[in-house]
């Protein structure tokens, strides 16, 4: 078994209204994501999951010097930012890809699959 980070990516400025222009569609997506989470628990793939506030709520802390330095904003300036994630345990990459496909469909976003280092 390998643990994978399934991260959901959105445009950095996207509000929930941008991602789901139709409120009914947003409700449907939330409901499907909830169902998917329950299925992950039932199948034993679940480790952890969470949705994140928008990137402009992020703070960067650099503790490598003598004094911690705190700055506003997400670390990466890239246009795409992480909006939420799952940590799952799966038999292999094919199994993780199947889970990611279901998660992607539920939350209406592209999902990156990345393995955790083992041991």
């Amino acid at each position: 078994m390998t643990q994978y980070l399934l991260s959901v990516w959105h445009d950095k400025d996207a509000t929930p209204e941008d991602i789901y222009p139709d409120p009914a569609e947003r409700e449907a997506s939330y409901a499907e994501t909830g169902t998917f989470n329950e299925e992950l628990r039932a199948s034993g793939n679940w480790v952890f999951a969470g949705g994140l506030h928008s990137p402009n709520t992020a703070t960067v802390v650099d503790g490598t010097g003598d004094e911690p330095v705190t700055t506003d904003g997400p670390y990466s300036e890239s246009k795409e930012q992480i909006g939420g994630f799952w940590v799952v345990e799966a038999a292999d990459l094919d199994a993780a890809i199947e889970l990611a496909a279901r998660g992607s469909k539920a939350c209406r976003g592209k999902v990156e699959v990345r393995p955790f280092q083992g041991e």
Binding site: T2, D92, L93, D94, I97, V113, P115, Q117
Partner: protein
Amino acid sequence: MSTTPHGEVEAIYRAEFGTVVASLTGRFRDLDLAEEMAQEAFVEAVRRWPTEGVPPNPGGWLTVVARNKALDRLRRESTRQARHEEAEMLTAHEDPAGPVTSVTDERLRLLFTCCHPALSREAQVALTLRLLGGLTVPEVANAFLVPERTMAQRITRAKRKIAAANIPYRVPRDHELPGRLRGVLAVVYLVFTEGHLPGSGADGIRDDLCAEAIRLGRVLRQLMPDEPEVAGLLALMLLTDARRAARVDAGGALVTLDEQDRSLWDTAKIAEGHDLVRECLRRNRPGHYQLLAAVNAVHTDAATAADTDWGQVLALYDQLYAVTPTQVVALNRAVALAEVEGAASALVVVDGLDLDAYHPYHATRADLLRRLGRHPEAVAAYDRAIELTANPAEGALLAARRDALT
């Protein structure tokens, strides 16, 4: 047993390398180890076979020698107790002359792992040629005209991803198989087309890559004899490669199908390709490669260009467009349409396509305009095609066509 010249060992190397790597990967689940030990087994073969002779089952000999070397390596390197126990469990050394079980499935598993969609296409091609085709890293680098270091990194990164992301070592399940097989066929065909019409470099045709792709096609056919698209791809490659000797003239320029000296065609490859196409027709489960093979079967069936059954070619392209509705297929269909209905009808179709960056689009358009007597427009289209093609033989052909108009 007889003594062997070095060339024979080379041939066995190419033929057996994939089998040895596949067998070791199946056993140890470690591509790096499998690759290195396969390499070492061949070093031993090169050392021993010239004096001891080639064993009756060279593939089996190499597999057992490589496996024993892997066990030695694991024992030597096992610092952790678990690893050590694992190595102990893997039994004692085996006799290289002993029987070896079937490794057919192992090779297929290796192929699907090398062509996993989580890997980039270029990594898929590199891994397939290296691990299954037995090409050395410098050979793979040379085939794609990239520095050896770049290719070595590409292969290392891909293997690392397979291990880290836990890409499974297995033949995909039934519901995944059609999509995954398409990926494998695309890799093999990419190797072939890179050989047949290189996008870069000084050579018009690279025989070594064509031969390697056909060899991989034969392996696939042996492993998946019931897949019509596998037969279709092999037939397509054979029927295309059969015309190789006639495709380039003495000056290095490409010769188009209608002007080729058909006596130079390889009749054995044509016969084999036609047999495969007939087999596909009997199965009646048409697909992309089968239909392309059938088009090539029609061409290679004609004694002269004038004998070509263009109505049949057009009908096949209609079927192909139904399976693969792309602009490139539409362009090739238009070439057949020009022969059946005339250049004017074909030009209407071609002008409706959006393929400005694709040099065959401009080459086809130029030929149609030339046939319609619209020479200034034809010259401009030839210029654009020449500008876009990276293949020297094709550039020479297009320049000759253009210059004949001015």
